[in-house]
Symmetry: C2
Subunit: 411 residues, 2 copies
Amino acid sequence: MAKINESYKKLEAGYLFPEIGRRVRGFTEANPGADVIRLGIGDVTLPLAPAVVEALHAAVDEMATESGFHGYGPENGYGFLTDAIRQVDYKARGVDIDGEEIFVSDGSKQDSGNIQEIFGQGCSIAVTDPVYPVYVDTNVMAGRTGNADADGRYEGILYLPATEENGFTPAPPGERADIAYLCSPNNPTGAVASRENLGAWVAWARENDAVILFDAAYDAFIQDPDLPRSIYEIEGARECAIEMRSFSKRAGFTGVRCAYTVVPRELTGTTASGERVGLNELWGRRHATKFNSVPYVIQRAAAAALSDEGLAQTGEQVSYYMENARRIREGLAAAGFTVFAGEHAPYIWMRTPGGLSSWDFFDQLLDKARVVGTPGSGFGPSGEGYFRISAFNSHANVDEAIERIGKVFAG
Amino acid sequence: MAKINESYKKLEAGYLFPEIGRRVRGFTEANPGADVIRLGIGDVTLPLAPAVVEALHAAVDEMATESGFHGYGPENGYGFLTDAIRQVDYKARGVDIDGEEIFVSDGSKQDSGNIQEIFGQGCSIAVTDPVYPVYVDTNVMAGRTGNADADGRYEGILYLPATEENGFTPAPPGERADIAYLCSPNNPTGAVASRENLGAWVAWARENDAVILFDAAYDAFIQDPDLPRSIYEIEGARECAIEMRSFSKRAGFTGVRCAYTVVPRELTGTTASGERVGLNELWGRRHATKFNSVPYVIQRAAAAALSDEGLAQTGEQVSYYMENARRIREGLAAAGFTVFAGEHAPYIWMRTPGGLSSWDFFDQLLDKARVVGTPGSGFGPSGEGYFRISAFNSHANVDEAIERIGKVFAG
């Protein structure tokens, strides 16, 4: 009999966002015509920038000709894209990244889910809590954990609570771990790591010979130029960190699909016998065996998003969403809610009112205000009693949502 | 110290196609201007069909508008695409597949590499030999094998030799295995499985409670309408088979990226305690956690390839490549080579001349005829002494390649 991977049975009920989708579908089917405003999943709403659209059309036209047709692409991405990434995302901030250290992919969800494959089964994992569920779930599926306890904490994972006290930016733990997942600006809390905080993490990783998996999918939302956008702005990070970045939020690519992962050449793991093995080579082998490059037209679109014109246009989109973040933050605060973050991230993190559980608040918000958010507890036990509001929507919908929430829950 | 996944160290030198790429680059750098004809990697060469191009442009225009913009797509693919798949690929051949049994993805390489994740670590694996390297390598990476022996056979994998005697279509083994990978039309041998052969495999799988992973990426090249294109044309296959299909070869999508996997609801695996678990649900959980849907514009393109117009246009492309296959088959036979297949597949399988090893023939072919093919031994030990020629190129290049090969090796 073909045995299944029983680690899947340890997973909590379902991946968070499909569960939200199911509840929202249930509500809209029971309330046809209900005017639901979605501030749940962090999904962009503005149309693609003109420079991106133009590049897509041009690439499609190329693919329609014998001379311009492109079949299988280079495994790690076309040079025109990796060159643009090196220049715009790194060189411009004083960081040197080699083209062969960049692996273009179809999403940071995929990369942050797949990266654990190159590590040993026995590696210990640390995550901040609440956390993007993919980091935890993929380690559960890989068999690196025991069962979840009543609060949803998996045995064998080190949870570092992100709390009001630490500004939702945990310091490195006193104990060691082999791998630590960090995300800044953070999903879900919207908190952003300072240079000092990241410096402490890099020092911790180097001291413990640990690897930091740094998810910078939201870096474009950082408003303060002095805050680090890349972990490689921190001295010594090349020896201890892998970085993942995405075009999804910065350029409206959630339905276009392009991202990349940087694995510096200096970064190594060890075999049981202590031999050092380059992680760049291991990830390259994984990428070449289980992936087959991003569509040519999409890579052209991503490169266009990094052109001067594309940067200006997508920058305006980011500003539009950050204006939403401001309205949500200030509007909810004015209505008496306790809100956090949203200054360098498209997410506002809030305390649920009246001590409601995260899912109870979700259900009430949907039922009474017809607004969809994301329950903090869906991101981990320390998210219980908190709630995430996304800034991805129109100004009008955001204003309407804040007004509704205020009316239903105020006082 | 972060330990690496040491199973990667068991892998043979490198994934086959990057290795070919390296040798070809080495040759062209040493011989600048050399007119190399590539019949190696199975990569399409004709431009995208007009219906596909039109759909891409239309979808890009949609993405440029507020009302037509699409962010994250449904996890398993848009209904417009899964409906077209159900109708064109299945219903038209008398097979009923439900929309929720179809998982749209960015490639059959990915799907056939990732599918092993939902199975237990201890599952025994059977492959035909030679075989598409991804099936084997991904099980090695997952730790299901021991080391490779001198011939490249991994300990713990059951290799079923595809030989001249069995028409390169092995029958099921006398012993049992938990999982068997089949590919028809076959990559690399170009052989196609008969209804009887697949019937025997389905009977074997049902008797042994095994799961068949059926790769039908090349089904569009089958010329005889009586040959099975889907394993679900075989009675009882819904209880024992997962099927993978791709738009890469049938519609020229190698640089466009769209494929899908079918996991019937009836299909189950078991836990250690004997509980039955639906594989559809498990694959759905994997897909939702580690994947994030195919770009909207690409799904529109795939649906267009399944329209009447798209089918007619891509059908002409397939005919064009099959004319190449005929020229290669007949041309090499006339030049005295022993050739096989190429009648229902874009691949010709040939014996190397003069008892040359597969890689020696590769190097000589490149050096003397400036033609790139694929060494049979790169696909497994039973491929030693054989060679794969791909039909993906222009008529003119194919004619020129055959003439060169004939000149260099004839007699």
